[in-house]
Amino acid sequence: MTTLTGISSKVILRTSGVSKTFGKFVALNNISAEFSRDAITSIIGPNGAGKSTYFNLLSGAFPPSSGKVEFEGRDVTNVAQHEFAHMGIAKSFQITNVFPLLTTRENVRVGLQAFVSRYEIWRPRAKLPGLVDKADELLALVGLWDRRERLAKELAHGEQRALEIGMALAANPRLLLLDEPTAGMSPEETRVMMDLIVKLARERTVILVEHKMKLVMGISDRVLVLHHGELLAEGTPTEVRQNEQVKRVYLGQREH
């Protein structure tokens, strides 16, 4: 066992003192945390806690104002967003982000193609071997196989979110980042999504941001609580639930 490469290390992702300011507004203040490879970690907190900002730093949407982000021991603080998928980090967005005028299958196929061919302008893409089959496989996994010929914009909201996860899986990521994966979903859709997340976490690390505390407590191994841009508490769901400060923050907060 070597830990020199960081690949086999237990820590898959680490942030060291990351802060993010927008003008004079401090969205995140000096957050240091480690994410374990074989765990589902949830980042929770009330509105405006800085969850999404933190998610965006982790997923490379923008770099922190200060501090460092490391993935498998490699400094990825200033790595461009499009490199993340190639490193093995994929994400789904808080606001649904699909290719609306492409078919459901093509959405996933394009996601897969990024790892096979990006700048070829002459060979027909139909001749890239295996992509359509692989896309169908992923669609079956997220429960959209029978919708594969539909345009993505015609899918129901919950289906689009599932499609986004299918697209993220196209990168075959070692780390899957999900930003409020059940936002706007019905209770039934939420249940299906939660089952899917648990299933996916068996083969890869999952970190999710969630507003609804109750929802993630059951499936998380570890929970980080953010509040006003600070790391308020960290621990197992039970520890976090019993934390006095967390109780105070969430007290009187309506759970949506």
């Binding site: 967003q81 499009h82 993340f84 998928a85 982000n97 609306p100 394009v110 990024a114 990006r118 700048y119």
Partner: protein, 328 residues
């Protein structure tokens, strides 16, 4: 009721099959149209103009319709292609094919230059930056009188015969000239359809559909845009080179802002984001211009009215609307 709806849908299904066939063989069908085209046009020079402007519009549409970037400076690419082809012939006595290649290269290099500066902006800013840069290109060519003839245009691009693989074509004969130019346009359309069907074609669409998602999926959006701009420049450069060969002169007006605006109109008129739409738009635009100007000098009024009606009532453009009717 069921039977009724079945009979109603049957012709649609049939036409959908026809549509699929047509789509698969679009390059071949287009070639057939191109072959008979000059015979039904009022005069051959108009048919040549439609071919060249159609190619220009198709090149523009790669960026506008497929990638979703509105450039207001494509005259710079078209014009650079024309001037470099002309300069190669007039000042360096290059053979026509080398000069044409020079035009393609010129359009691509100019696109790389303008693209490198403009590609980080989007929307109205992209339109403005490309417009401003194309104005710079205009003054560059306008001032270089020794090379370009300045205001008088570049004269003396005399190509009398075109030899392809040992065959000699009389380039003075209008119909022969049409077919020679048509051969280039068909090759260009074939290349374009290959690009659109390629893996990179899928990336172009993905970037148009959702930039953030394309980035998260692992695509370099900025580089994709730049490459598409350069490809667009190569097609427009070829169109410009053919224009220089066709006209025997390169008028300075080719770099005017109207040349940039015209191609936007042609694309919208025909249908942006469709393969043949820009071609149809160019044909309708130039036919209207030529036919209406026969009986009134205010032809722009009529063309403008047709344009407004099209944009208001057929936002998918002429060709786009036809496609929707066939394949709803």
């Amino acid at each position: 009721m069921n039977e009724l709806s079945q009979t109603l849908t049957q012709p649609v299904v049939a036409s959908a099959a026809w549509f699929e066939f047509a789509k698969r063989h679009r390059a071949f069908l287009a070639s057939t149209v191109v072959l008979v085209f000059p015979l039904v046009m009022p005069f051959t020079a108009l048919a040549v103009n439609i071919l060249i402007y159609g190619l220009y519009a198709v090149g523009f549409n790669l960026l506008f319709g497929y990638l979703g970037l509105l450039s207001f400076g494509h005259a710079a690419l078209f014009g650079t292609g024309a001037y470099l082809c002309g300069i190669a012939i007039v000042h360096f006595a290059w053979p026509w094919y080398a000069a044409t290649a020079m035009g393609i290269l010129g359009g691509a290099v100019m696109a790389a230059g303008i693209g490198a500066l403009a590609i980080r902006t989007r929307g109205i800013y992209f339109a403005m930056v490309t417009m401003a840069l194309s104005q710079c290109v205009f003054y560059l060519f306008y001032q270089a009188i020794n090379w370009t003839g300045g205001e008088n245009g570049l004269r003396g691009i005399n190509v009398r015969t075109i030899d392809i693989f040992g065959l000699q074509f009389d380039f003075i004969n209008p119909l022969t000239r049409y077919y020679v130019i048509a051969a280039f346009v068909i090759l260009a359309l074939f290349a374009l359809s290959r690009i659109l069907a390629s893996p990179f074609g899928a990336v172009i669409e993905a970037v148009r559909e959702n930039e953030a998602r394309a980035r998260a999926s692992g695509y370099n959006v900025t580089l994709t845009r730049l490459i598409t701009f350069i490809l667009s420049g190569a097609f427009c450069g070829l169109a410009g080179a053919l224009m220089a060969l066709h006209l025997s002169v390169v008028p300075i007006e080719i770099l005017h802002i109207e040349t940039s605006g015209m191609v936007v109109m042609m694309s919208l008129l025909g249908g942006m984001g469709t393969f043949f739409g820009p071609f149809v738009g160019a044909a309708v635009f130039l036919l209207l211009e030529n036919l209406v100007s026969l009986w009134t000098v205010h032809w722009q009024l009529i063309v403008g009215a047709v344009f407004v009606i099209c944009v208001l009532f057929f936002p998918a453009g002429i060709w786009g609307t036809i496609l929707k009717r066939i394949n709803p």
